[in-house]
């Protein structure tokens, strides 16, 4: 490719600098929007921008081409400052067909840039999208800065010389769009061409075609004069020095589990049944067999947790994951794990509910389910990841607690974290603390429910150990011998011990994640994937001079004492959640604080502006 680094440098010089840009790609499920978005994100990340992404795809694999149901979107926010969320609204919307336009136009603010592939605005496509007339021509888009490009035709033309069928040619149009965006945001096209070649190495015809389409798009931007006024330059963000990679939440979670296995010097056993948006965790881990990871695709979620219990009992680091409906099915099994006290991590990648709900959308509505969704008094430690890369740390933490306290631990993530991506500063492996674990081997004086006085953990004895043969099970057990016991006081004692053991985990919480003053008018308390939006909103309020702080929880159970103290130092407490107020209920019950909820249940993350408004309402 002929564009040299220097020519790009000089080009850049003439560009408008902006702090951050939000681009949304939208097209048909078959149009490859997820790939386009991902590639564009990588380019921004490697160029040093901070990034945050929000893929948004339909529940159908491939709804009818051109239909509204089939629209797939990918939003990326890149910034020279911190990109803590994927952005409230797009600055640029790339609409590959009428349905994509219709489904997304309302989100584009006045004056936003709209790039529309007019080649796809045919009569039948317009009809499928429910348009009677072409919206590009009847005033519908007057409020925006519209760039109508016949991407379809230009792509086909660029591939004239190839031997691809016309259908195959048409499928390259996303790379044309990608090329155009590369040019608009001064990304390095050579690097991308290299990627394309690597990615499609096994299909050289496609590699060639996609690279051609990509370059065509890039050159088109450079050549077509129309774009000169919308080319931007986003300076690199100032990052901590280190090595970075772009990471999605589920991939980070997978790496965290692999790392935990290495840190504990134990094999990892993962079992699960596919379900959106947890499946990719299974997919990732099944690729890490060479790190001693065994994955088991079970016949259902119940078998998923069952097999994990078996593996944990056998001495492995056992993990099972699912999303809401599958977590519901695992409840009885999780109760068994709690009763028998085997270490186990249960991951819930939350999605829109109830029931099948909105499988591909995000929500935080399983908190109370994982806390209380089991028969009997059955408390468990519950941790929540707050960003894609935080899932790595949270996974290690969850394993550490499971092993240290010999208990099942729930790890909450959500669709937004799982699919979203951000630059991740890779940890120095040698600085990660080892996870101490041991299996008792000494038969002398062994009692099944004898406990470590600090952690209340019982010994994790694995089959195969001579002299320690014993029986466990779901019936209540004697507090010492582990034999079945129907004794009333023993039951009460064991109930208290199980509860106290979870409370002891509070020692692990450490200082709470906090930004802003130590006391003041409004404390925003959040958890999970809303981290970026809440933090940014709190910072915005601070910038505006308000005494607003933000505390973000990783430990949902136990909540610990520090939180209570902090709550008491603010006039008002706001708990924004993507549910109807689940953490809010816990906080009110525990601390008797009149916490106010700010709740959104739309399958979408918070916009920063929404949270800012909610905070302002309390001042």
């Amino acid at each position: 490719m002929s564009t040299t680094a220097e020519s790009r440098e000089s080009q850049k010089a003439s560009r408008t600098r902006v702090d951050n840009v939000v681009v949304r790609f939208a097209g048909d499920s078959g149009d490859g929007m997820q790939l386009t978005g991902t590639e564009f994100t990588k380019a921004a990340a490697t160029a040093g921008n901070d990034i945050a992404t929000l893929p948004d795809f339909p529940a159908e694999i491939r709804a009818p081409a051109g239909s509204l149901a089939g629209v797939s979107g990918f939003q990326v926010h890149f910034a020279s400052g911190a990109a803590q969320t994927p952005g409230d609204e797009p600055d640029v919307l790339v609409a590959m067909n009428p349905a994509a336009l219709r489904a997304n136009l309302a989100d584009l603010p006045e004056g936003g840039i709209l790039i529309a592939n007019i080649g796809a605005f045919t009569k039948p496509n317009l009809k499928k999208a429910g348009y009677d007339e072409n919206p590009l021509e009847n005033g519908t888009v007057d409020r925006y800065r519209v760039y109508a490009v016949d991407i379809s035709k230009l792509t086909t033309a660029a591939l004239d010389e190839t031997d691809l069928s016309s259908k195959e040619k048409a499928r390259c149009k996303n790379f044309f769009a990608l090329g155009l965006m590369f040019w608009m945001y001064s990304r390095d096209p050579q690097r991308e061409v290299a990627h394309i070649e690597a990615k499609f190495a096994s299909k050289p015809r496609l590699a060639d075609a996609n690279a051609r389409a990509f370059k065509a798009g890039y050159y088109y931007g450079e050549t077509a004069e129309v774009f000169q006024d919308v080319v931007y330059e986003v300076e690199p963000a100032a990052f901590e020095p280190g090595v970075y990679r772009n990471i999605s939440g589920n991939e980070a979670l997978a790496l965290g589990l692999v790392a935990a296995g290495q840190l504990a010097d134990k094999p990892v056993f993962y079992s699960g049944y596919p379900i959106t948006p947890a499946s990719t965790l299974l997919h990732s881990l099944s690729g890490y067999k060479h790190y001693g990871v065994t994955t088991f695709q079970a016949e259902d979620e119940i078998a998923g947790v069952g097999a994990a219990i078996g593996a944990a009992y056998g001495g492995h680091i056992a993990v099972t994951a699912s999303s809401g409906p599958g977590i519901a099915l695992k409840a009885e099994g999780v109760g068994l794990a709690a009763m028998t006290e085997v270490p186990l991590v249960i991951v819930d990648v939350q999605r829109g509910g109830p029931s099948t709900g909105l499988p591909t959308k995000t929500e935080q509505s399983d908190l109370l389910q994982v806390l209380f969704g089991r028969n009997g008094e059955c408390p468990l430690p519950v941790l929540a990841a707050s960003t894609p890369s935080d899932a790595f740390d949270t996974a290690i933490e969850a394993v550490r607690i499971a092993i240290t306290y010999v208990t099942p631990v729930v790890l909450l993530s959500d669709g937004y974290i799982a699919n979203g991506a951000e630059p991740w500063r890779l940890p120095d492996v040698s600085s990660l603390p080892a996870i101490a674990s041991s299996h008792r081997r000494d038969p002398e004086g062994f009692q099944v429910y004898q406990r470590d006085p600090e952690t209340l953990a019982r010994d994790w004895v694995v089959p195969g150990t001579p002299g320690l043969e014993h029986r466990i099970g779901g019936l209540e057990k004697d507090a010492l011998t582990g034999n079945v016991s129907y004794d009333p006081l023993n039951h009460e004692r064991m109930t208290h011990v199980r509860s106290e053991k979870v409370e002891r985990v509070a020692r692990e919480i450490g200082p709470l994640a906090h930004t802003g003053p130590d006391e003041g008018d409004v404390l925003v308390v959040g958890w999970g994937g809303t981290y970026g939006a809440l933090r940014q909103a709190a910072q915005e309020m601070q910038r505006r001079g308000h005494r607003v702080a933000h505390t973000h929880l990783r430990y949902m159970n136990p909540l610990g004492e520090e939180l209570g103290e902090r709550l008491s130092r603010f006039r008002r407490v706001l708990v924004p959640e993507l549910n109807m107020g689940q953490l809010r209920l816990l906080i009110r019950a525990r601390y008797l604080v009149d916490a106010i909820g700010f709740n959104k249940v739309q399958g979408q993350p918070f916009k920063v502006s929404e949270v800012v408004d909610a905070i302002s309402d309390l001042l």
Binding site: G292, A307, G310, G315, G474
Partner: protein, 370 residues
């Protein structure tokens, strides 16, 4: 960073010799009693479960297995209390899920000897699906289903194997469900080892268990078990001393299907592929042994189905090993993949390199990408 997998996969083996309770050293041979726990056995007097327990304890002693390498996993039911009485490792889990738990255990720890104890309700009602999938996968488990044709623990409701018309607390007018045939289900699911035995026939039961234990892959054994409290004598027509010679068909690989006191009866394939009982001999209307069906544990599965379908009163009930087929066990295949991947990985498969894989970039001290 150490390589945890190989180490762990060998764990059982490494430590066996040293344990004070291990059966490793010479002269340390365990007896049946060594396989009993100190817990009172809490089944009703006369329950068939006692006999099965006793046979199992004796068998394990005879086989010279190590207690510490043996694990009994069960679900819920009277039968599922079994692990409490076996002085091995034991897991009394939840209703119907034992095959799933055992699968996880066996895949994680293939060197262990894992038994699953289940009932007709536990294994075929709530747990039918896990049973089916364990059998299909051929995980190397010994699954023993205690079939008393009733829910014992919950006080006598009819079960999936109960005879139609069973009057039970939930079916005062008699049940209308068509009963499930455990062997047909197992065969339909793709089981590689399918057998049947009787609680009180200790010798035969022990032989069948020994075969099941020796089989690589899932062994499925249906044990006809009497529940004197809620379904007394449900198997009496078959077990009954007086009639057993004509109502039981003892299977022996390679041998013709003969029964009766002196083998005077046999089974052959009649018109329309229907099996029929014939008199064996060279008399009039009698059939020579060569014309009978010959038992073949490795015949195409439909033959085992034919056996499984033989039912009282039209036919004698087959006992013994109906089918034994060689097929790699699931955990072996999984282990191969994992071990293959582990050993194929280069020196560079470190955690550091894993994290640094994919597209990375460096940010310098100036906070800008290099």
């Amino acid at each position: 960073m150490k390589q945890p997998v190989e180490k762990n996969r060998k764990a059982g083996g490494e430590e066996n010799g040293s344990g004070k309770n291990g059966a490793g050293g010479p002269g340390l041979k365990l007896t049946k009693k060594d396989f009993a726990t100190d817990q009172d056995v809490r089944w009703c007097p006369g329950c068939g479960d006692y006999a099965i327990l006793s046979t199992t304890q004796k068998l394990l002693a005879d086989l010279g297995v190590r207690r510490e390498d043996t694990v009994f996993v069960s679900g819920i039911g009277c039968s599922s209390r079994f692990p409490y009485y076996m002085n091995t490792y034991g897991f009394h889990s939840i209703h119907g899920r034992a095959p799933a738990i055992a699968t996880g255990l066996k895949v994680a720890r293939p060197e262990l000897d894992v038994w699953v104890i289940t009932g007709d309700g536990d294994g075929l009602s709530i747990g039918g699906n896990h049973l089916m999938h364990a059998l299909r996968r051929n995980v190397d488990l010994n699954i023993i289903l205690f079939n008393n044709k009733i829910y014992g623990l919950t006080k006598g409701q009819y079960s999936p194997t109960s005879e139609p018309g069973t009057r039970a607390p939930s079916t005062p007018h008699g049940s209308v469900d068509h009963p499930a045939n455990p062997l047909s289900i197992a065969l339909g699911a793709g089981a590689t080892f399918v057998a049947r035995a009787i609680d009180v026939d200790a010798k035969h039961l022990g032989e069948v268990f020994a075969r099941a234990h020796a089989h690589k892959g899932t062994s499925f054994v249906e044990v006809l078990q009497n529940c004197p409290v809620f379904n007394d004598d449900a198997w009496a027509p078959i077990v009954d001393r007086e009639h057993k010679s004509v109502r039981q068909l003892r299977l022996a690989h390679g041998q013709p299907l003969r029964f009766g006191k002196d083998g005077e009866l046999g089974i052959r394939l009649g018109a329309g592929l229907a099996p029929e009982v014939v008199a064996v001999g060279d008399g009039d209307g009698e059939v020579p042994p060569s014309a009978l069906l010959h038992h073949d544990e490795r015949a195409p599965t439909h033959y085992a189905h034919l056996l499984a379908e033989l039912a009282h009163p039209a036919f004698p009930v087959p006992l013994g090993v109906l089918r034994a087929e060689d097929r790699p066990s699931y955990e072996a295949l999984v282990g191969e993949q994992v071990e293959g991947a582990v050993s194929a990985r280069g020196e560079d498969a470190t955690l550091h390199n894993l994290l640094h894989s994919g597209m990375t970039w460096e940010v310098g001290d100036d906070g800008l990408p290099r």
